[in-house]
Amino acid sequence: MTHIGQPLPRAATARLVAGRGSYLDDVSARGEVHAAFLRSPYPHAGFRITGTEAARALPGVVAVLTEADLAAVCQPWQTKTGSAPGMVSPPQRALAKDEACYQGEPIAMVLALSRAVAEDAAELVEVEWQELPAITNLAAALEADAPPAHQGLTSNLAWSTELKGGDIEAAFAAAALVVEDRLTFTRSTGVTLEPRGVLAQYNPASQALEVRISHQMPHQLQRHLADLLGVPLGRVRVICPDVGGGFGLKMHVYPDEIATCAAARLLGRPVRFVADRAEALLSDIHAREHIVEARMAVDAEGRILGFDVQDVQGLGAYSIFPRSSTTEGVSALRSLGAPYRFSAYRGRLRSVLQNKVPTGQYRSVGHPVGIAVAERLVDLAAAARGEDPLEFRRRNLVAQAEMPWVNPLGARMAELSHQQCLAKLEALLDLPTLRTEIAAMRAAGRCIGLGFASIVEFTATGPEGYGRAGVLVAAVDTVVLSLEPSGEVTARASISEIGQGTTQGLAQVVSDALGVAPDQVLMGSGDTATTPHGGGAWASRGAAIGGEAAWGAGRKLRAEVLAAAAALLQCAPETLDVRDGRITDASGPRMTLAELAETVTFRGYELPAGVQPQLTVAHHYRREQDTALTTNGFQASLVEIDAETGIITPLRHWAVGDCGRLLNPLLVEGQVRGGVVQGIGEALFEACRYDETGQFLSGTLADYLLPMAGEMPDITVAHVETPYSGSVLGAKGAGEAGTAGAPAAILNAVNDALAPHGASVSELPVTPGVVLRALGRLA
């Protein structure tokens, strides 16, 4: 293997640095019209559209559509999953009917010759609103007198569950120490720099729908469009061009996107919708709104006995389609304490409807919540025992000899390297020196804190996950390879590229599997017409699942190439090899792949009878064991707090991770650093805020604060490589661990800094106000 594991730059980025990318809004269709939506200004309201004439009369307006118009071509949808039996989530429509249940829910759409005119006309649609009592506050949503998020519901409790194992009462009864905390997590959102957008065209003559969309999984959307719009699946083509960031945000079914496709079908002409930033912040999924009360039992020797957890999770007005927002709550509970050995667990989850935009799967789904809670409890326990927080962790980490380890929740963990990661982290930090430096800075009056987080991330979900729940999410992937007459290899993958670099990693895999240079492998993905059905980009699965498909396809093509060459060279295939695009034997190169492919393609008469080389091959990969691949790691964060202003500055950050075999360390480190900064954003800046009447307050990027270059630290990244033994390549997921652990590391660092002041915080994001209140400087 010569290219797997090499830090090669991503071929595709040569276009992007030159401004020659092709994102959704970079391409237009002749005759297209632009959509703008009239969205509910209220978190909860009944409505009646009383007049569309003024809007229609505006020059340049092509159509004004309401739910009644779309109903002819578009079905409603409702989220149901075997993972959350009995969940209450009302049916959802492309345009709301009679009742709007969150601010920003689309109720009418205007199609016009320009977006500006469409917006002008949307203002002219006449609506009679009847404001209804709204529930947005998570803590209040389950109170008996809380207004229902949807009229007719008797409770806002959409679903509840209890995950348990072991004897929780006995664990707490036996505890020498019980630590507890209540942590609140404010909603955040993905903020892909490219907002969601779609360009839909329907050809009434061929009854075919073509949808270009900024999306993570073309095949999933193809299926839903076929179902909802009643177009045969084979006549729905979904194309995802260059995607300007995904992070989980672009994998759900959004009403405005479905409405755009439905409108294209109704009108028979191309319809474009590109969310502006304000409507993106209002209508993209949010995530991670939780109130978690958790206790941890510890014995006299400092061993964790068990966790007892209650999580209230905000769903928004609907459980997101198709995956269900409850997944995040379950994932939070599952990731909580996962690195540690304990014998009893009780986790109660209540998932709550609210008059807010739905929450959904966002990078590292649930993990940042569960890990922050557990790591906070671990630090509390270490402090209570007067013990170094890393020593407490070291004692409780599941040892390699104990794996595979199935914890009381039934979560199976295998081939994890907690001890090696911890040792590597300690070496990176040069902990004795760092501790001395921290002591000196504190002695000089600075408020400094060091925090740690131990992480297990469940990645690369297999068919057991959504498949068993009856949710149409593919966990399998296929790669198709063709040897071109030029000797280049074209690859078409059902894995999709959203900037994370998966296609570069796959090119390196194909390169090694076949024996060609990586730049001879031309990757294609993101188009249902050219790639086979598969999962796309989610759950950090590109390398672990797509990589296996690429390897398998590469080996199949190699076998075909060798067989054809052997026939031409009149030797045994076993005596031949493929190296750097050449077919070689013991004497050296015999022919190039180009020569072979040219012969097969243009001079087939030269081949012996019965030889039918298959220069296009496909390999489908389905992992047969392990519902998810567990990865592990450690993070550390050094922060400084200005105790007078409450401003927190991350000074340094370290991340050590084990994601199995690294296909390309440059890409993995990019994922880790980007993920860490997203996690720091969540810990310190990002918040979707609402006022007491339920009005959204974070509707611009001046209000929703993202981490920027000036405040972010340099991040030291290191790897431990424990290949997954169940696959050829041994890769596991790498895309989310940075985000999983950073909030916990920051939270612990902040509390470490505050501890000498007798203060602590239990709320994310930790804003300056939160710090000043904790320090008693503000009421």
Binding site: D276, L705, G769
Partner: protein, 276 residues
Amino acid sequence: MKPARFDYARPATLAEALALLAQPDAAVLAGGQSLMPMMNLRVARPALLVDINRLPLGEITLAGGTLRIGALARHAEVLASPLVALAAPLLPQALAQVAHAAIRNRGTLGGSLSLADPAAELPACMLALDATLVVASAARGERRIPAGAFFLGLYSTALASDELLLAAELPAAAPGWRFAFLEVARRHGDFAMAGVALALGPNAARLALCGVEAGQRRQPAAEAALAAGDPAAAIAALASTDAMDSPELSAAHRRHLAQVLLRRALAHLEAADAAA
């Protein structure tokens, strides 16, 4: 979002511009760094945009002890101007914290002062530097307004709807005066959560805050205490500012930051003195 419709005029002369501004719902387009976002969000909907970018209003001069900065001077130009550094050293301190490079390339002094955002740095500087603002209209000609009478409240100034800000005139820094601008912002370049603009002279002081009160103004009680050599009293005086209250940033929080910043500004000047 895209802006609502408007008419657009790009006058070549001041007289032409002032005539246009006399029309109803006319708005001045200078750097556009605040107006255009508001128009793109359809929060601002002027009927007529009067683009003054072709008017010769960007000059920076220093003559007769007066620094005159034209309203169209871009933040980047003011920040880099040696004349400004010499005669109004407070301004570069503040401008380094105003937004980001690309915004400073376009944004203008006049735009910032005319908008009177309570969190903006430059109004506070004008107050602390005892600036006089020169404005003109077609109907009433030119008039000169002391900064203290120019800023009236939240996004409110003494500029009449038909008036255009032409320049700010500042007395050049007198010997013995020292200047400090400090602010607290969540992120580099964000509007200040709170900021102080301080000019400290022999037995005299001028102090203004940004991000604290809805209308920026001098702080006479604190100034008197500073002039009397009682910094503790000056800091204490800021506890009674009429601070804005918002969910993310309470009045008490803003007052607290103002006090912290004044103490730091004084310490900063003291340290600079000690070093000199």
